[in-house]
Assembly symmetry: C2
Homo-oligomer: 198 residues x 2
């Protein structure tokens, strides 16, 4: 009787381990590198639900942005989080390719201090990419809409956000909860890879 | 009796799930998002072992690079993988801040086609950041040494790699197996975050 009891418990235990393993397979995909998966899955999202992103989550995304490398470690980035409906609507109507601002509860304006670094736009691009990946990794979505180096768009954003002349806007990044229908593309192209000489 | 049997199986099943959960705790650090961890841990590495990186791994890193967003989806990036010792040494001696090229078995030169996009340097910065993160995520190390927008460095790299005039070098990125002694910095700075207006 004792032996049967142990066997029954053992069978249940094994079933529990298997069930848990199956759950892990689905969620954690062993063999898949989670960061490479995030990089591959990240894609521009232009349609959002109305759900707001919490301040804590935004801080977490900006922590990722500020982990970017920068020339001479100058960290020339400045970030403006915009959740004022009127400002989002005005930016959306004045900027081309940013009409989704009318339907998203918040956007990040990535700026760089041009007095601090002559390559602020490269450092801030790396920070923007970190932000996009952090959003993807945490179930959010985002899209980089370009401002710099277009002179008209730069002036528009500087005016709307009251930016000092040395604070240059690189990109307006609507972000939030995507509608889940847009998909990533496979953009690998071996013809772009060269060895040692062109 | 039947009820007792079910209870015993259920207890075993629960114990199995708990045991499996504990195993997961150790290996997968619940609560830590692997991508955010990669972003936080990535740092510039300037000291490398002599171990070469395989072609398959380099292709995997470049797949990540090419997953970057680009203006109008133009994908203006071009990549030159340099593992020729003489070329690495020459670049290392001619470029400032790239002396580690003398001690690394390979480097990536990230270039952009300036005929294809007026914002090639932003798109290629995002691709470079993806490359750096993919390296970090797979146990490798890398460092972004700047070329563009410095005119002298651009000419140097164009000469050494025989680049056409429209193929602009953005960065030389030594990469490989780091010596493990360099550490990431916490660069979060709440004063860089603004809300709605400057």
């Amino acid at each position: 009787m004792k032996r049967i009891f142990y066997l029954i418990v053992l069978a249940g235990f094994a079933a529990g381990m298997v069930a848990c393993g199956n759950a892990m397979d689905k969620n954690d995909k062993p063999g898949v590198n989670p960061t490479l998966e995030t990089i591959a899955q990240r894609h521009s999202v232009r349609r959002y639900t109305g759900q707001k992103v919490s301040k804590d989550t935004i801080d977490m995304l900006l922590r990722a942005a500020m982990a970017a490398p920068s020339s001479k470690d100058r960290r020339p980035w400045q970030f403006v989080v915009v959740d004022d409906r009127a400002t989002l609507d005005t930016l959306g109507s004045r900027l081309p390719f940013a009409s989704m601002l009318a339907h998203v509860p918040q956007a990040l304006v990535v700026c760089g201090d041009s007095d601090l670094s002559e390559s602020w736009f490269l450092d801030c691009s790396a920070a923007t990419q970190n932000f996009l990946l952090a959003a993807q990794a945490t179930g959010l979505a985002a899209v980089w809409t370009g401002v710099y180096p277009n002179a008209d768009r730069i002036v528009t954003v500087q005016e709307e956000l009251n930016l000092p002349p040395n604070i240059m806007p690189l990109a307006v990044v609507p972000f939030g909860y995507g509608d889940g229908l847009e998909q990533p593309k496979d953009k690998f192209d071996a013809s772009r890879i060269h060895y040692n000489k062109w």
